[in-house]
């Protein structure tokens, strides 16, 4: 049964400055949402709270499987993931980076090899699997970051401006990967400044203005 995300009037402020102000939304499972808004409008904070990296000051983030609410524990956290605008890669090979999420889930060696090799092929990094990940270009690093997050097939993926610092080629590869991912009935929530990208990904558009969320 698919995982569903419900945001219930969350608010967050830093040093007295309100960043999120009573955001509420029901994200349907298997759909793609594009979160647009100017810099500092609260998109990243919203995604970090949704991905359970931060706690809201008020309100609640709830995940449901059918009607059953899921506790915010490791089993749930392993079904969701967030890709940051600047991915931090581990000081190890490209392959080991791609395989990280599978290894920590205790998946068998053969399956890890097969899945990691497949995802690296999709992001056109198969030829660099033995290379140290910290030697990749910024575009390749971002592609690896997204591959690393998608390899364990999370039910919900949050992408915070995944193509902000990449060239056209990497952008194309990343968008193709996101399209393939959403075709598998997974929920994608992407923060972007690019309205055309939101349209290309056939997403529902949510606007974040002064900490408030609105469906366009």
């Amino acid at each position: 049964m698919s995982l569903r995300l419900s945001i219930d009037r969350i608010s967050k402020s830093y040093d007295g400055n309100a960043v999120l102000d009573g955001c509420r939304f029901e994200f349907e499972a298997g759909k793609t949402y594009a979160l647009i808004g100017s810099n500092g409008s609260g998109k990243s904070t919203f995604l970090r709270i949704c991905a359970l990296l931060e706690q809201p000051d008020k309100g609640a983030v709830r995940f449901f499987c059918g009607d059953a609410e899921q506790p915010h524990e490791i089993p749930l956290k392993r079904k969701i993931t967030l890709v940051l605008p600047k991915t931090g890669v581990f000081n190890s090979s490209v392959f080991n980076n791609a395989a990280y999420g599978l290894k920590i889930r205790g998946i068998a060696g053969n399956e890890i090899k097969e899945k990691a090799a497949r995802i690296l092929k999709l992001v056109k990094l198969a030829g660099k699997s033995a290379q140290n990940a910290q030697t990749l270009s910024s575009g390749e690093t971002q592609r690896l970051g997204i591959a690393r997050a998608m390899v364990f097939e999370p039910e919900i993926i949050f992408l915070d401006e995944p193509t902000a610092f990449v060239d056209a080629e990497s952008k194309g590869i990343i968008e193709e990967l996101i399209s393939k991912f959403k075709d598998r009935q997974r929920t994608v929530i992407i923060a972007t400044h690019d309205l055309h990208q939101a349209e290309r990904l056939d997403s529902q558009i949510l606007s974040m203005t002064e900490g408030r969320l609105k469906l366009l």
Binding site: A51, L53, I74, K77, R78, T81, L82, V83, L84, K86, T87, G88, V89, F90, N91, Y100, G101, I104, R105, N132, Q134, T135, G145, R148, A149, F152
Partner: protein, 229 residues
Amino acid sequence: MFEKAFALIFNTDHELFAIILLSLQVSLCALCLASIAGVPVGALTGLKKFRFRGGVVSLLNTFMGLPPVVVGLCVYLTLSRSGPLGFMSLLYTPSAMVIAQTILAFPIVASLTHSAVVGVDPVIKQAAKTLGASPLQESLTVVKEARYGITAAVIAALGRVMAEVGAILIVGGNIAGYTRVMTTTIALETDKGNFELALALGIILLAISLLINVVLHMVQRKGHFQDKK
């Protein structure tokens, strides 16, 4: 004099090699114990926030500069017949030398491990978290990222214990064929005017120190090289 010193080295003098072997045994044993205790302590102070953490780190940094003779004196008083551990009869044995060197090496390993762990980019921990790592897996990932710094910490501690003389002279007693190591032999033979053996050991000690520094430099360069990329 140098000719005779080199002759001692190349003619595989039995006494000389017994001294070198004991030096390496004592130092490596102390290094192992200091690393087993020091790496987890350093990692813990780098990873976890707890009460008095700042105090613990300051204490470790202070103890990095512990005067060896003071450590030797404290271990001596503890292990001497009237001391709290006198019943173990460890004074003037290689074990006492290992204890003294472990005490000297521990703060170096712990403090430099702490610095290496703290120096890991916070984005690494965050990446592990977003990929579903448990708190333990997160911590292990950060420690793994700090591996070059931790290796450098262990090598730096080895350099310290290999060159140490004051503490082991007090607790080991410099007994020929039993607790006599390179540094204490150099001190003794210099006093006796037997400069050939002292020089031979000095050359070997310098060669070992050079080797340790070359390895340390290589490890640091490798870590730095990968950080830059």
